[in-house]
């Protein structure tokens, strides 16, 4: 695996007295798919927002390709090559699919021709070319999530962070999404995926980080993680854990 692309050091985030993330540290290496998993309320999305600049962390440090990006504005972080999607899809409703993607493509160019070319490529990559002229508001949830990813891709990121891009999709759609992730990895994009659907991300992840109650409780390959004591406890509860130990 390549060098460290994203490094989190002792990141803590508080809302008033509620601690959402506590002393979280891990790193994402160039070219890998890293999954961030954990039960509901584990603080995954908050962590996500801290990394991408939507929240300023309470303490700790985030660096991206050697540069300290802690507390930097989201648009600056995006310019550096770190793009994200939103858990609750935010399609630009009054704009078509193509316009949604085109807007992202303008990040590194002022010229319509160049941006259009990028948008076309991305639409082919994400299988959206047939829906290019539909309004964002009229899309199905699966397509909205696809547009969300496509729009982020159009900014030409080196690291793409997907926040529950598969939630609410059916089996075939999930399979498509998995394929897309692998395709992106192949094209050299590093991925950080926040997800609930284990069977979807375990096969494609190189490494997994597990959060519970705001803290990192495990890190490793998918195999290591699923056999990790604390992970089983967090996901299935103490009783199940005790029972499985007995057998």
């Amino acid at each position: 695996m390549g060098e460290a692309m994203l490094v989190l050091e002792h990141l803590t985030m508080k809302f008033g007295n509620v601690v959402a993330n506590e002393n979280v540290s891990f790193q994402v290496n160039e070219g890998e798919i890293l999954s961030l998993i954990g039960p509901n309320g584990a603080g995954k999305t908050t962590l996500f927002n801290c990394i991408t600049g939507f929240y300023a962390p309470f303490s700790g440090k985030v660096s991206f390709r050697g540069q300290n990006i802690t507390g930097m504005r989201p648009n600056k972080i995006c310019k550096l090559g770190l793009a994200r999607t939103f858990q609750i899809v935010k399609t630009l409703k009054e704009m078509t699919v193509r316009e949604n993607i085109l807007t992202g493509a303008f990040l590194h160019t002022r010229h319509m021709k160049e941006a259009s070319k990028i948008a076309e490529e991305i639409m082919v990559l994400t299988h959206l070319q047939h829906k290019a002229h539909q309004l964002g508001a009229n899309l199905t949830i699966a397509d909205k999530k696809r547009v969300e990813i496509a729009r982020a891709l159009a900014t030409k990121p080196q690291l793409l962070m997907l926040d529950e891009a598969m939630a609410g999709l059916n089996q075939t759609e999930i399979k498509d999404a998995m394929e897309l992730c692998l395709k992106l990895k192949k094209s050299g994009i590093t991925l950080v995926i926040v997800e609930h659907i284990m069977e979807a991300i375990m096969p494609i992840s190189d490494r997994v980080v597990v959060l519970n109650a705001g803290k990192k409780i495990a890190e490793g390959t998918p195999d290591e993680v699923v056999n990790h004591d604390q992970v089983i406890k967090a996901y299935l509860g103490e009783r199940y854990h005790a029972k499985s130990k007995k057998n």
């Binding site: 991408t52 600049g53 939507f54 504005r73 989201p74 648009n75 995006c78 310019k79 793009a83 994200r84 999607t85 939103f86 935010k90 399609t91 630009l92 409703k93 009054e94 704009m95 078509t96 193509r98 316009e99 085109l102 807007t103 992202g104 303008f106 990040l107 160019t109 002022r110 319509m112 941006a115 290019a132 002229h133 309004l135 964002g136 508001a137 009229n138 729009r151 982020a152 159009a154 900014t155």
Partner: protein
């Protein structure tokens, strides 16, 4: 494919509308009609300029009369006190209006939604009050521009209104082209993204404040130009005329009525509202009873209630998407 054809069609219609507007005053020789056409074109342009900040960017401004007034006062004061050509005043006024826009932009763009709208309204009212009490510009009395011989340089024509019309028409085309270029450039896409979602725009690398300021500056610059023109045309200005809230609201009204965020919305809105208000004023206005504005108000309410997407929405329904009309609104 569908959309590019669509676009072509829209561009085409826009071109025809402009040609018709240019020819009409030649075809109909009537001083009232020429006056109505001048105002129509002026308001269409003002709507277009306002559309850039509100229609494209989604930041509702209720204070655009401030920029209009600054343009009117700058050129008038320079002409009246120093005999400087209104053209110079027009340019200077636009620069001042843009500067003012820049100064108020940063504090205002910290605010969202209605808070921003009320702030623009407040700024408009403050500027009006300042001019009302400003001795140097004759306060509430207003300025009567000295009547000179006819000429392009002093922007005065007394025998016919046609020169005024073609000057304002030229300025209107300037605004239309600017708006078109903005809409079809990186900036246009960015502005619309900001309108649709502040968060998404940040996530794809846009600095929303920066682009909102750009939109505001362009809008203020263009609005101010017409203030200067208007002063030279009417030859008299006072703060209650050029800085008034009703003027700001008129710009808002006609654009929303025509179709917010579209290029021909302001043109259609002005083409409906301005003749309506001017002719009802000519017919009924003499009675001093406000019948003109009763009819005007009634029609505005009726359009809002029965054609919520503006008149452009009606046309789109009729010509572009007859099968899906009214459908697919929810998301």
């Amino acid at each position: 494919m569908v959309a590019s054809k669509h676009l072509f069609k829209q561009k085409y219609i826009l071109g025809w509308i402009c040609i018709v507007i240019a020819i009409l005053p030649l075809a109909i020789h009537n001083i009232n009609f020429h006056h109505v056409m001048i105002l129509l074109v002026m308001y269409a342009a003002l709507g277009q300029a306002w559309n850039i900040i509100t229609g494209f960017t989604g930041q509702t401004s209720f204070g655009h009369a401030a920029f209009f007034g600054i343009g009117a006062y700058t050129s008038s004061v320079l002409f009246w006190r120093y005999m400087l050509s209104p053209w110079v005043g027009m340019l200077l006024g636009a620069v001042i209006a843009t500067t003012v826009a820049f100064l108020v932009s940063y504090p205002c763009f910290k605010l969202k939604g209605h808070y921003f709208a009320i702030a623009t309204l407040a700024i408009g009212e403050i500027i009006q009050q300042l001019f009302v009490s400003w001795e140097y510009v004759e306060g509430a009395t207003g300025i009567s521009l000295p009547v000179m011989g006819e000429g392009f340089l002093q922007l005065q024509f007394h025998r016919s209104k046609l020169p005024y019309f073609y000057i304002v028409y030229f300025l209107f085309i300037l605004v239309l082209v600017t708006a078109y270029l903005v809409e079809h450039s990186k900036m246009g896409y960015y502005l619309k993204a900001i309108r649709e979602s502040h968060e998404v725009s940040e996530a794809i690398g846009i600095n929303p404040t920066e682009y909102k300021v750009y939109a505001m500056l362009i809008s203020a610059f263009l609005t101010s130009i017409f203030g200067s023109f208007y002063a030279s045309y009417i030859l008299y200005i006072d703060p209650f005329m050029v800085f008034s809230l009703p003027l700001s609201m008129r710009i808002v009204l006609l654009t929303v009525l025509g179709g917010l965020g579209t290029l021909y919305g302001p043109i259609i809105g002005a083409a409906v509202l301005i003749p309506l208000s001017e002719y009802t004023r000519i017919f009924f206005g003499g009675t001093g009873k406000g019948i003109d504005l009763i009819i005007f108000g009634f029609l505005v309410v009726a359009v809002a209630c029965y054609q919520p997407k503006g008149i452009v929405g009606l046309f789109q329904k009729l010509f572009f998407e007859p099968s899906t009309a009214g459908g697919g609104k929810n998301g």
